[in-house]
């Protein structure tokens, strides 16, 4: 890792989004390889921070602020890649995320989104209060392999079942996997409705999704 990439890595570790942006701009201006900035600076730092959070060595706020700092750098690099028409790496996987119909809680979903994006995944966030078919339509349009739905209220958790039913009806069950989470859910509920995965926390969700796309259980 050269000095400019190391300083980008350090700035993410220091949770300093403004510094990350400045250093990434400087590195790009001085001709640094954008893929290297992404992989050896930004991604490396956020993966380490994610691991630390997983081991309970840092708090969620530190992870979230670092992820924002990382995202600020990633945006600049992406723009540079587009400008230069450099061949970028494929995303590690494509996921659709949203909160189910009748439910407007977004924090857990947003944490998962941030962690996935900084981990190299392409995330399509359809927002809160979304009917089941919106998840499926978006997954088809974006060629996503996983739908993630969040439900915080016991009154809205049945909407997660609607996603499973609609996938079955549209003969997509199994082709698009589902992961559920949120305070109103648990592993038994996932089993009952036929969801493929259940995550009790955002970090657990990231691990399940990573594992899926890394091949284990991936039918592609």
């Amino acid at each position: 890792m050269n000095d400019s990439i190391k300083s980008i890595y350090d700035a993410v570790i220091a949770y300093d989004a403004d510094l990350v942006k400045r250093l990434v701009n400087d590195a790009i201006s001085s001709g640094e390889d954008p893929i290297k900035i992404m992989n050896e600076g930004l991604s490396k730092a956020i993966i380490e921070i994610g691991d630390k959070f997983g081991k309970e060595e840092i708090f969620l706020v530190e992870l979230m602020v670092a992820a924002d700092a990382c995202k600020a750098g990633v945006e600049l690099v992406k723009n540079n890649i587009l400008e230069k028409k450099v061949k970028s790496e494929k995303p590690r996987g494509i996921i659709v995320l949203g909160t189910v119909l009748g439910d407007i809680h977004n924090i857990g979903k947003d944490i998962l989104k941030t962690l996935l994006e900084t981990g190299g995944f392409e995330v399509h966030d359809i927002g809160v209060d979304q009917p089941a078919n919106n998840f499926i339509d978006k997954a088809l349009a974006a060629n996503a392999k996983i739908i993630g739905s969040s439900a915080l209220l016991t009154t809205t958790a049945p909407s997660q079942k609607d996603i499973e039913t609609n996938l079955l009806n549209r003969k997509l069950k199994g082709k698009i996997k589902t992961i559920i989470g949120g305070a109103a859910t648990n592993a038994d509920w996932a089993k009952e409705i036929g969801a493929d995965f259940y995550a009790s926390t955002a970090t657990e969700g990231v691990n399940i999704i990573k594992k899926y796309f890394e091949g284990e259980g991936n039918e592609d």
């Binding site: 309970e56 708090f59 969620l60 706020v61 979230m64 602020v65 924002d68 941030t114 927002g127 809160v128």
Partner: protein, 482 residues
Amino acid sequence: MRTKLEILSKDELDTIYQTALDILEKIGVNIEDDRIIELLKKNGCTADSNNIAYIPQKLVEQCLNSTPRGKVRLSGRNPDKDMILEKDQKYPFIISHVLMNYYDELKNDYHTITQDDIRDFVTISDSLDTISGNWMCTLMPDYGKMYSFYEYEIAIKYTSKPVCISSFEPEAIPPTLELAEAVAGGRDELLKRPLTVAFCEISPLTWNKYGCDMLKACSKWGIQPIITVETPMGDTGPVTFAGNIAQKIAELLSGLVIVQLLQEGLPVAFVVPLETFDMRTAQICLASRPDYIYGLAVGQVEDYLDIPFISPVSPDSKALDMQQGYELSFSLLSRMLCNNKCIVIHGLDQTHAICNELLFLMDEMVLSGKRMLDGIEVNEETLAFEPLKEVAAKMEGNRRNGHFLNHKHTLKWFTPEQLPRKDNIIDKYRREKWQEMGSKSFVKRASEKASTILESYKPEPVSKDIENAMKKIHEKYNIPVI
């Protein structure tokens, strides 16, 4: 604003204090030592044929004036870790007491304390930032009449924090003092950072022969006395709070007067438990309801006298159960919130047993108590108007969807406002996660943490000089190494 609970008005404190002075002057103190009686008489007291000395207000005030303030220092190996008990302390010092038995909740085992138990308990206490030192009173049978020397020696080995001891057999004084000299780094240093010993007066209003011997030993050897009075409510003290506190003050001041007459200028502190005679079981109990009320007054009384009180927190519960949690939290919190200077925590079973796991509950409670003392900071930054404005500006469609989880304001203020811990053993997981992790109780988690600390934590080692001094003292006084 900093938190401080007060339960007595200035007028009420004046009245209680004046009653204490009246007790000394009109009811008097029984003193079983002719030399001390003579000394008191020479200094303006009267005494009757029953060895009751009547101490005038003038002498009490003179002796209070000659008692140094802000000089009570509890010492150990590392001077940087000394506790200096003084009026404007930010937080109380917390001492964990080593007692006669060890209780293992997970094994349902209760046994006479062993050296291994002491080593482990003192080591864990040394590793915890919330605990400032140890107090030793194990009376371990193997230690015989040298128990105070042995207790001091083993504690010194496993902690560099202050170590206090409770009384001693007269023959244990010279070797203990020699070891304290080696720990302090010489006789002159020991005078500045003295050995601290606690001993008891006998209620009501009696200094028996043992107590008088201890008072004289302290003045002779330059040992810092911690005078303890026990006036169980309804037993040897009145059942009313005001009267009981007045009696306590009178008894404490009688000891202070004798100490100052024996050696003017010797620093003094008081140990002042609030015991209740339980009329249902005929037991003297320490963590009953009255203790919590008295706990709220301790800080005010010690500030009034300007002499530090070391105040015991002593749960009566026999197990690490809900009663333990209740008694420990009420006793501890009342003292912390009234600005008591130093709290000594006995484990469980009415000052009879210790338990490693309990240290972690204390640790968590003390941290929370300290944070409560800090109060709530109100300023432009903590009011968080601008951060809220930014968060509220985030929209998804026409619905606000912002949060503070990734905000710099949270990053900056989360730790100072909440004092979070990364290695917290207080369970905050979802039930499923908790089950996945083994459905462990607090005691089980604390036991695992104790094992981790004992495997990985090494207390600051004793210096070669102290080690050599220990060897020499054993040889010189023919004290077997146990």
